[in-house]
Symmetry: C2
Subunit: 181 residues, 2 copies
């Protein structure tokens, strides 16, 4: 596995659950995972072939029943071990880049209305995302019996907890800007 390329563990993690094509992997990443990680085709396909060379994943017999080539990948024993080693590794970097906060921090050179407007843009985005997260949560609660689902549930509750905090901050922030002067 490449040293600092986290897309590898994302792929390995998804394959640990079930066999997938590169295309499937992209779809999964664009789902519930997208709230805390992203990935494009341009990173997925190269990672997949690198990891095949390293024996972390392998191709399954391509079921060429339907038209275009389709490569289904499967995780190997070595791949699972790599994933487990990563899970047990104490260090985990959470890399957060909020352009919205940059705009708050440097908003002083403009009218306050600009900052308020930037808060509202953020607020609307968060509200939309929160709806999606709550939808995920409801669906997961129906099937919490499976081990993996509890883990998915953990990330969804994380999202809801933080997004609700974002909304609380939006209100506070607007109040601060309107009261204090």
């Amino acid at each position: 596995m490449a040293k600092d390329r986290k897309i590898d563990v994302v792929i390995l993690g998804l394959l640990a659950h079930k066999d997938l094509t590169g295309y499937d992997i992209k779809k999964q990443i664009d789902g519930a995972i997208s709230f805390f990680w992203k990935g494009s085709f341009g990173s997925i396909y190269p990672a997949l072939s690198d990891m095949e060379k390293q024996g972390l994943v392998k191709r399954k017999k391509a079921d060429s029943t339907s038209g275009r080539e389709k490569i289904v990948y499967q995780i190997t024993k070595k791949g699972k071990d790599t994933l487990k080693t990563w899970l047990k590794d104490e260090k985990a970097t959470n890399d957060l880049k909020y352009e919205t906060l940059l705009k708050m921090y440097f908003g002083g050179i403009e009218d306050r209305s600009v900052t308020v407007h930037n808060i509202e843009i953020f607020e609307n985005q968060v509200r939309g995302d929160l709806k999606v997260l709550k939808f995920y949560k409801e669906n997961l609660e129906k099937i919490l019996d499976q081990e993996d689902h509890i883990h998915y549930y953990l990330t969804v509750t994380f999202g809801i907890e933080t997004y609700e905090a974002y909304l609380r901050w939006c209100n506070k922030a607007k109040k601060i800007l309107m009261d204090k002067r």
Copy 2:
């Protein structure tokens, strides 16, 4: 300004407040800003010389009173306009990468104790950071009269609000893992 290089606006934003050297800029970024943005020397110095060529910043007379060369930069009119245009631009991307959540999501292939341990590592980090944020907040509250400080205050309250949400989630998450089975 380079199209997708946000370090440029960080530098411009800091210079809008006061003249600084590249070294100073790095120190500022490593302070309260580090909670929502990061930057290294390897990105700061090249950005500074690019922006000088573009006339967004300019060198001030180097006060060579103390030993080694020292280049103090100043923002130009054009630089300020660039910063204002960015502030008013509706789009702001918040790019969040939580390796911790990746470990939650894919934790199903290991013992639950591994996931609990990963939550605790995160929890400790958050607790430490929260202390720092509260310290910043207290200090800012003493000097909220200046326009810029209210904007800094906004980002600090954001940090506190979300970090407290993180801690609430940690407790809930541990409970879920221990109760449900």
